[in-house]
């Protein structure tokens, strides 16, 4: 265990000295804050439109006023969570790749191999070290998210919001650790670092952007600006009744979506924070009922990635200069 901790501490030291890591983490924080600013401005614009509409209704002498738009503070984090989904995964890939590629570039793996018990413990140490880094970053993002919602969104943050945000932070940790572990594994088993980096970039594109994009673009409601059912003036219950006739198309689309760990992470986070309307204002038990399959899927994928990363330690000789 102490060997693992020594290797992990050395990883932490490397990360602390790496300016790129600090820059990308700051960029992620800024992107979250920025998206809360945009969401808050958008909500204020909606409120202004609503007030203008109410004034118009009153002036026309009608007594019926429509319901005011309601602010659910954590919904302001939708854009921020999407940034974690897209950029967080990219940065995790870069961090995991860099951790292994630097050993190859510096030719230091021989020194490690003559001291550590095995290649698997070297990879285990790296995984532990980066796990600690991401735990700290996830916690920092939770704080930044809550603070920006409270300050910019002028919303009250209670125990309820803190608890949900902490759970979302834990989900983010599981998600970025999936990518970190995949990057560690792939960079270790490939003979040269450059193809590994390209392979990881392609995997990131496919899993994070392309698969969810295909799912999204095949959504019948996304075919016209403003939504197909809106354009046809169809109410929600009727929409569901119509879609019931197209279950094979919809289940194909769903299968495609859940094959991406990013989509699993997105579904869990959106449910936890009440971003998806179905879960707005609902209890955690309700959220669990709706998303436990996605949670099992995401955690299972991350555990499998951990096993791959540690197993890749058997191939650690590929990092030697003479290899």
């Amino acid at each position: 265990m102490s060997e693992l901790m020594t290797l992990a501490r050395k990883e932490l030291l490397d990360v602390r000295r790496d300016r790129v890591v600090w820059i990308v983490m700051a960029a992620l924080g800024i992107a979250i804050v920025l998206s809360v600013v945009v969401a808050s401005l958008d909500f204020r614009a909606q409120m202004a439109d609503y007030n203008a509409y109410v004034a118009q209704v009153k002036a026309s002498g009608s007594g019926v006023t429509p319901q005011a738009p309601q602010l659910f503070p954590l919904q302001l984090l939708r854009g921020g969570m999407e940034y974690v989904e897209v950029l967080g995964a990219l940065f995790a890939v870069v961090l995991g790749y860099g951790s292994v590629a630097k050993e190859r570039a510096r030719g230091t793996v021989d020194l490690l191999l003559t001291r550590a018990r095995s290649g698997m413990s070297i990879l285990g140490g790296k995984l532990l070290g980066l796990g600690i880094v991401w735990a700290v970053v996830s916690l920092a993002l939770v704080v930044v998210s809550l603070a920006s919602v409270a300050v910019i969104g002028a919303a009250h943050i209670g125990l309820h919001e803190v608890a949900r945000m902490l759970l979302a932070g834990a989900a983010a940790w599981v998600y970025v650790m999936f990518w970190t572990a995949i990057a560690l594994a792939l960079t270790t088993v490939t003979k040269h670092s450059t193809p590994a980096l390209f392979g990881l970039l392609v995997a990131w594109l496919v899993v994070v952007l392309i698969i969810p994009q295909i799912g999204d673009t095949m959504d019948p409601d996304n075919q016209v600006p403003g939504g197909l059912f809106n354009a046809l003036a169809i109410a929600k219950p009727d929409e569901q009744a119509v879609l019931a006739h197209f279950t094979s198309f919809e289940s194909g689309r769903n299968a495609l979506e859940v094959s991406s760990v990013s989509k699993l992470y997105e579904r869990v986070t959106f449910a936890l924070l009440g971003i998806k309307n179905t879960y707005t204002g609902q209890s955690l038990a309700f959220v669990w009922d709706g998303t436990f399959r996605n949670i099992y899927g995401a955690v299972g994928a991350t555990l499998a990635a951990f096993a791959l990363a540690i197993g890749a330690g058997r191939r650690v000789h590929t990092l030697r200069r003479s290899a």
Binding site: A27, R44, L87, F198, V202, L205, I210, P220
Partner: protein
């Protein structure tokens, strides 16, 4: 001039021999080929949904997909150009800029009687040729696959539109390739050199349009261009951000060429994309390279 052509030929040869970017090229070509099918399958389903809605007497609105153009099937290609194509181009640019550093051949090139800028221009020309080949392949794939789905060859106008979309794609990809070259010049480490254009791409594709339209980042991956918000803070924000919203402009200009609905001026949008590429090319040519001589200096 001969130095430029020599460097261009060398770029073609070395890029063809380097296997790493092949994965991105394969992803790009594969998704472009698949996009027609995805577009067709979705359109067929949506039309069936409309028929069901009408049969159930739920709407009296006209079918938004009646008389939809054959080119509407390829609208997803626009997104794959933005998603995969631009990153592929940036990666090619980075690899080109870092090649001498990685192979430690910079001293051999720089002690030849040609200017470093001429070599850089030649390499950009070489990348341009590679991208042109890829664009021609994707245009042919698009033309054939749409023809196969609709059951007849595309008309002359539609063929011209596909070709124009190819040209616009090439212009955008050259811009990102130039960004990659500039990044490779400034950042000597491969990881940082590749990360920088990806982050810039994310800012252009997600952050800037989000500021102008209040859209959520991932929704920007829908091929339907988003209208700018006219009211409140978004009014002036979208005005300021409009010139930098390169990917949204590309979507608008592409929508016009592929007979899809769009708002705004397609010509102005195409001009913004071209301007971005010109600026990126200029940057790639003038940016000062980080120290090329590695190792200790006696």
């Amino acid at each position: 001039m001969s130095g430029v052509l020599t460097a261009a030929r060398h770029e073609l040869l070395t890029s063809a021999r380097a296997k790493s970017p092949y994965m991105l090229v394969a992803a790009f070509l594969g998704m472009v080929a698949a996009s027609t099918f995805i577009g067709w399958r979705t359109t067929v389903t949506v039309s069936a949904i409309y028929d069901r809605v009408v049969a159930d007497g739920l709407t009296t609105q006209p079918n938004p997909f009646t008389d939809v153009s054959a080119l509407y099937y390829v609208r997803n290609t626009v997104i794959y150009v933005l998603l995969i194509g631009s990153l592929m181009a940036a990666a090619l640019g980075v690899q080109s800029a870092l090649r001498d550093r990685k192979a430690s051949t910079a001293a051999l090139v720089l002690t030849r009687p040609v200017s470093e800028r001429a070599v850089r221009a030649g390499r950009l020309l070489g990348i341009g040729a590679i991208l042109a080949i890829l664009v021609v392949v994707t245009s042919v794939v698009t033309w054939v696959s749409v023809g196969a789905i609709v059951g007849h060859a595309l008309t002359a106008t539609q063929t011209l539109e596909v070709a124009s979309f190819g040209a616009l794609t090439w212009v955008l990809l050259m811009g990102f390739a130039a960004v990659g070259v500039a990044s490779g010049m400034v950042f000597p480490r491969e990881r940082t050199a590749l990360l920088a254009p990806v982050v810039l791409w994310a800012v252009i594709a997600f952050v800037i349009p989000q500021l102008g339209t209040a859209a959520r980042p991932v929704s920007l991956l829908n091929p339907v261009p988003l209208p700018a918000q006219g009211s409140g803070a978004f009014g002036w924000l979208s005005q300021i951000m409009a010139p930098f919203s390169i990917t949204e402009h590309f979507k608008t200009a592409s929508a016009a060429l592929l007979e899809s609905p769009y708002t705004g001026s397609a010509v102005a949008s195409a001009a913004v994309v071209a301007l971005f590429t010109l600026i990126a090319l200029a940057a790639a040519l003038v940016v000062r390279a980080a120290r090329i001589e590695g190792g200790s200096h006696e």
